[in-house]
Symmetry: C2
Subunit: 105 residues, 2 copies
DNA sequence: TGACTCCATGTCAAATCTGACATATTATAA
DNA sequence: TTATAATATGTCAGATTTGACATGGAGTCA
């Protein structure tokens, strides 16, 4: 797990559109990254819709502002676990998650 | 994250039907566990459909037989990350994941 | 019976992720 | 401009997860 991490980190720059292409990402890696970006985006949407600051959201999910920022920016250090737990904590249903996921890239 | 872990471990017994009820799980916790169980189930389905052993699957995803077993049994020590990466590695599409997720519980 | 395959479960060092903190950057308002 | 809030980014000790290994149980076949 060394090259994979590097790729994820490099891919982090892509907040727009679907990832990969330039980087030599396998289909699974690309799908994984797109998944994370989709969930990131959804989390930010749900937060702003609720007119909450990152700090407020952080409190609600027992985390910190900086981690929320990383979540929303698609930082490679954030796991799917944390993203999904956060989405659930903010009120997303499993159906919401499914929608966000399948809409990915 | 202490009580949460305990609950997850206790909840592990539930392979059948939707989790929670007896345990004092918050809706998010219940949704999270159901999510994992849905993905576990799907992984096992895809593996058996391909007529692979856990050992063979483990090789394909660069993991071990024991971890595959834990994945499929909904063990609390397995993350969503690993489950999803494995599903992707086995050929699931984002759409497949979405379907598995929304079918949960 | 033994030999073999498959799956389950416990353990643990190494790898990864997390919350918290410091600090920087970017708004927005007065 | 200054001040203030919101967001971004880097770092790191502590917590969690991982692959690997050992081992046990269940089923099959000869």
């Amino acid at each position: 797990m060394k090259a994979a991490k590097k790729k994820k980190l490099e891919a982090k720059g892509w907040k727009v559109g679907s990832a990969a292409d330039f980087l030599a990402l396998s289909p699974e890696e690309a799908a994984y990254i797109d998944l994370k970006l989709s969930l990131s985006k959804r989390l930010k949407e749900m937060r702003t819709q609720k007119k909450m600051s990152q700090t407020a959201l952080a409190k609600e999910i027992h985390s910190s502002q900086s981690r929320v920022a990383k979540m929303e920016s698609g930082d490679a250090s954030v796991s799917l676990d944390l993203l999904i737990k956060s989405l659930l904590a903010v009120g997303a249903s499993n159906r919401d998650l499914a929608k966000a996921i399948s809409s990915g890239a």
